[in-house]
């Protein structure tokens, strides 16, 4: 099994005729994902790659194909509107890849997404992949992944690939890899993924890749301490990053923290999370824990 996506995933791509959307739709098809529909307003009636029907609206696509998941490759200024449309059409899972969405747009979208009981992953994320189910939703390269029993959750894109690549080369497969995205406002956080991996009978251990900034990793560490019984291995990128020239006081006041690597690593250690000093350390640490 896997988290959030599986063999029953029926995928719809919003922005399927765009440059990014069409490139990645092709990759998802090649990987074996059940890509059942595309949406681009004004291009309804066309067919993508000779087999995927394109619709003008998400609601029409859902009615015609029974799609249950959407992945969004719509330009930044229209991306929040695409999230509203997918949520309004009743899709239970929305994955938003788009980078550069104004944070106020997401602040307005989130209450609506929650009111509809929808899970949003992202924005500004690489999406997720469940190798055992051949379900790839997003941009994580399929060829570096392999089926197995390690769950991975990460705030970044290419760093995820680096770590997954180490796992696969060492013969350690993955149940699901999820990139939650690096924006200030995201739909699914570390804790949501940790809870899902903890509850997934086919995940034995969890890898968590964090970054400096914010308090998400600290909150996740507290959750691990209280509720996660599976082994967790963690990494924080940005240990050598310079302290920014900060302006204003509100940022420090609201979080009560500056989100440094030291704070996050201390929280990991306190929660019993094994700390990777380098990306390659993931292999040894997992072997010693599993």
């Amino acid at each position: 099994m896997s988290i959030f996506v599986d063999r029953n995933t029926r995928l719809l791509v919003q922005g399927i005729t765009g440059r990014e959307g069409s490139f990645h739709a092709r990759q998802m098809l090649e990987y074996g994902t059940a890509l059942v529909a595309g949406v681009t307003p004004g291009k309804g009636g066309q067919t993508f790659e000779g087999k995927v029907p394109v619709f003008n609206t998400v609601a029409k696509a859902v009615r015609a194909t029974g799609a249950n998941t959407s992945v969004i490759y719509v330009p930044p200024m229209a991306a929040a509107a695409a999230v509203f449309e997918a949520a309004d059409a009743g899709l239970p899972l929305i994955v938003c890849i788009t980078e550069g969405i104004p944070v106020m747009h997401m602040s307005r979208a989130m209450p609506f997404v929650r009111s509809r009981g929808v899970r949003l992953i992202g924005p500004n994320c690489p999406g997720l992949i469940a190798p055992g189910a051949r379900a790839k939703v997003g941009i994580i390269p399929g060829n570096i992944c392999s089926p197995g029993r390690v769950g991975l959750v990460s705030r970044s894109g290419t760093l995820t690939y680096e770590v997954v690549n180490h796992l696969t080369r060492a013969g350690i497969g993955q149940s699901t890899c999820v990139g939650i995205g690096g924006d200030p406002i995201i739909g699914t956080n570390f804790i949501d993924c940790l809870r899902a991996f903890q509850d997934d009978p086919e995940t034995d251990a969890i890898v968590m890749l964090g970054e400096i900034g914010g308090t998400d990793e600290q909150n996740a560490a507290a959750f691990v301490k209280e509720q996660v019984t599976k082994p967790v291995v963690g990494f924080i990128a940005g240990q050598t990053a310079p302290k920014g020239r900060r302006m204003g006081h509100a940022g420090a006041i609201i979080s009560g923290s500056s989100g440094t690597a030291e704070e996050k690593l201390a929280a990991f250690a306190a929660a019993g999370i094994a700390i990777m000093r380098r990306p390659v350390d993931v292999v040894q640490l997992l072997r010693s824990k599993m």
């Binding site: 602040s107 941009i139 290419t158 760093l159 940005g238 990053a241 979080s255 390659v280």
Partner: protein, 379 residues
């Protein structure tokens, strides 16, 4: 994008928030003229993107216009936290009865704009937050509806007892929220919000940070960016659509993706080196981007060796290889380059590099160790 105090003042003033008169000056003569127009004692404030301006000597009191000219001459051109002061703000030295804090920030946890107000305003607000957090009242705003009138009043009652002042402050809360939304801000702060001996409520200092993602469709805000307030190489990188931060080390780094870029810097340090920069060439990397990246890095004379660390996903590694070949044929790179690339189109990329006698590694640790050795040998 950070705004200067004088720019933030202009946006808040346009939203109707009452303020003391004042103006910005780039020369001592201009400062003298502003001081003469204002009359009386004035405060000269350095306009740089750095906190602790007062402690660094960037804020001074001038009793008359000629003193304003002299003190401006001292402040203009001085360096605060590595940034040169190009402009000063001249405002009247107001008589103040009370100082409060009003901040509005886009909060990650509640995913909403959150007001924070405290009657203990002024320079030590962070200390107040750390030691007596109960003195700061927070209020999240649902952006679907905006700030309700009763919420604005609730915040104002935290600050004042006199109902005329409460009403004035509530109006300022509403105006601040409007300025925050209309200008695509991620932070808007009035510190301090003051009362005068004659009972008026005014904003004395303002800070605004604009969400960079808004700038794409808000060219009117984009023009507020002050290139001179940035490291020149960082401004050049931004114009080339690269994310770059200059550091003090000697290992130049070119990486795709922010997380991997940070992890690469960390690994340079792990193997005993010092990164010269953070540089993310982003997702879809054209050869052009690679050329610009190499130009910016080689302009730093401290750089003794350069590392490319590319994990191709969306990024095609052959594009990066073409960029490296084009750049090194266009201009002379006189420090060694270590290339690590793996992922999308790597076979083609390696063929391109080998065609000009360059080689590529596939392992990140091996590449970082090698570049650190080379930088050390050259230093």
């Amino acid at each position: 994008m950070n705004l200067h105090e004088y720019q933030a003042r202009a946006l808040l003033k346009a939203a109707g928030i009452p303020m003391f008169e004042g103006d910005v000056a780039s020369t001592p003569t201009e400062a003298e003229a502003v001081a003469r127009r204002l009359g009386g004692t004035v405060v000269i404030k350095a306009q740089v993107h750095a906190g602790g301006r007062g402690k660094a000597g960037g804020v001074k009191l001038a009793r008359n216009p000629s003193e304003a000219a002299d003190l401006s001459a001292q402040i203009l051109g001085m360096t605060i936290k590595g940034l040169t002061v190009q402009k000063v703000l001249v405002v009247p030295a107001a008589e103040i009865a009370t100082e409060s804090y009003v901040g509005l920030i886009m909060d990650r946890d509640t995913q909403r704009p959150v007001f924070m107000v405290s009657s203990a305003g002024g320079v030590d607000i962070e200390e107040v937050a750390a030691k007596t957090p109960e003195k700061i009242v927070r209020l999240p705003v649902d952006p679907t509806y905006g700030l309700f009138p009763h919420q604005a009043l609730e915040l104002a009652f935290v600050l004042y007892r006199d109902f005329a002042q409460v009403k004035a402050a509530a109006r300022i809360m509403e105006q601040l929220y409007a300025a925050f939304v209309n200008n695509g801000a991620s932070l808007a702060e009035i510190n301090p919000l003051v009362t005068t001996p004659d009972q008026r409520v005014l904003a004395l200092d303002a800070k605004i940070v604009i969400d960079d993602n808004e700038l794409f469709w808000r060219p009117d805000l984009g023009v507020l960016r002050d290139d001179s307030a940035e490291e020149p190489s960082e401004a050049a990188a931004r114009r080339a659509n690269l994310t770059f931060i200059k550091l003090d080390g000697n290992v130049g780094c070119v990486v795709n993706g922010a997380g991997l870029a940070m992890a690469t810097m960390d690994l340079v340090k792990y193997y005993g080196g010092e990164p010269a920069n953070f540089l993310d060439i982003g997702g879809s990397s054209s050869p052009e981007k690679v050329i610009n990246a190499l130009k910016i890095i080689t302009a730093d004379r401290n750089v003794k060796a350069i590392l490319f660390n590319i994990f191709g996903g969306i990024t095609r590694t052959d594009d990066v290889a073409n960029g490296i070949v084009a750049a090194t044929s266009q201009f002379k790179v006189d420090v060694p380059i270590v290339i690590r690339l793996t992922g999308t189109n790597e076979v083609e990329a390696i063929r391109i590099l080998e065609g000009v006698g360059m080689r590529a590694l596939s392992d990140m640790d091996q590449a970082v160790e090698q570049v650190v050795q080379l930088a050390r040998g050259a230093a």
